[in-house]
């Protein structure tokens, strides 16, 4: 069985994280053409370095969440030629709700929810022109099982999931479908750092007794982008080794 894809041009939000780069790698090998967003020069260098053997087979674009001008330039670069969106982007704000800073909260929700809605509006309209598109949102198992201090993170993740779900509900009949992936503990990037700081107890809680690898998540994303997964629409899938299945 091989995967088939309806189109090739894919916008990857949050393109500098390790998971995005692993996914981009697999995408290029499947003849897809990713456009990865980055926030700063450090991120851009990271992309260039990770994809150095794929020159000419991907593009990068600068995007600052909350900055409409940078969003305008992303869409000038894309034109209206867009088949896929994969969204790895997320900001962090850890604070107990009763101890939070109001200005930070307002800005955090603007950048992570309102601005995301603006991106989805533009992506949706571009894909409607072709009556075809696929959107994958990378959420987290932590969205439904947050720790103290992760209230704002969870709120932003769940609100974003709702936006993606509704995009699939609203545009599904016009060929634009969406899916949310909720990974658990991952041996990649920030996840790897976190796991190294914890003891084995974390992984003991996972029925499969291990963290997921970046490769298997990226491969799952490729499957979700493919024509085989088009029937999976407007829904969230957990990929956490069973972590959230039991008590």
């Amino acid at each position: 069985m091989s995967l088939h894809f309806s189109g090739s041009r894919a916008l990857i939000l949050g393109g500098t994280c390790e998971l995005a780069l692993t996914t981009a790698h697999y995408m290029i090998e499947s003849d897809l053409f990713p456009l990865l967003t980055y926030r700063d020069d450090k991120g851009l260098s990271g992309i260039t370095e990770a994809l150095r053997s794929f020159q000419g087979r991907y593009e990068t674009c600068h995007l600052n969440f909350g900055d409409r001008d940078s969003l305008d330039s992303v869409f000038t670069q894309i034109g209206d030629d867009l088949n896929f969106l994969i969204d790895f982007a997320h900001g962090n704000y850890e604070s107990l709700i009763a101890g939070s800073d109001e200005e930070t909260v307002y800005r955090y929700f603007m950048e992570n929810i309102s601005f995301r809605a603006e991106i989805l509006k533009r992506v949706g309209r571009a894909m409607l022109k072709k009556r075809k598109g696929r959107l994958v949102y990378i959420s987290s198992a932590a969205a439904e099982r947050p720790n103290p201090g992760q209230g704002f993170y969870a709120a932003a993740k769940l609100a974003s999931e709702a936006l993606y779900r509704n995009m699939g509900l609203e545009l599904g009949e016009r060929g634009v479908t969406t899916v949310i992936l909720r990974p658990g503990y991952i041996e990649a990037g920030r996840g790897r750092d976190y796991l190294q700081r914890q003891d084995q107890k974390i992984l003991e809680m996972t029925p499969i007794k291990r963290a997921l690898t970046g490769e298997e998540i990226a491969q799952t994303i490729l499957f979700l982008l493919s024509d085989s997964a088009a029937g999976i629409n407007a829904t969230a899938i957990s990929m956490d080794g069973g972590l959230t299945a039991g008590k």
Binding site: R125, L128, R174
Partner: protein
């Protein structure tokens, strides 16, 4: 191709209509059964085909009743108030819409033609 002919073709394709009589006086929602998803797709197609900026609320008169209520609350002349919100329509058309508004959504093909013409002049 003139704007009406092109719009007619777009709408026929979009709403999957065949051999329907469509004139500038045709009501999109009441006569042709257009729903929100159809209007959304129409907006992006008009943007793409005619190369004009399309603001959905403005082209489809979504807030017409809301503005009417606002004008009454502020004690302002409704026709003038609405003409400022919908610069592509003109006061005669605004008055016509107000006369028939109780019958249902008044969006007509000729309103889309006016919008395209107005936005094209801005370019």
């Amino acid at each position: 191709m003139d704007v009406f002919t092109e719009l007619k073709k777009i709408i026929e394709d979009l709403l999957d209509l065949e051999n329907r009589e469509i004139t500038p006086e045709t009501l999109l929602i009441q006569d042709l059964g257009a729903e929100s998803i159809d209007l959304l797709e129409l907006a992006v197609t008009i943007n793409s085909r005619f190369k004009v900026v399309v603001k959905d609320d403005e082209i489809f008169l979504t807030r017409f009743r809301l503005y009417l209520t606002e004008a009454k609350k502020k004690g302002e002349d409704a026709v003038h108030y609405l003409a400022a919100k919908y610069p592509s329509l003109g006061e005669d058309r605004i008055a016509e819409i107000m006369t028939h508004i109780k019958e249902g959504p008044q969006l007509k093909i000729k309103d889309l033609i006016s919008y395209v013409a107005y936005r094209s002049r801005e370019v």
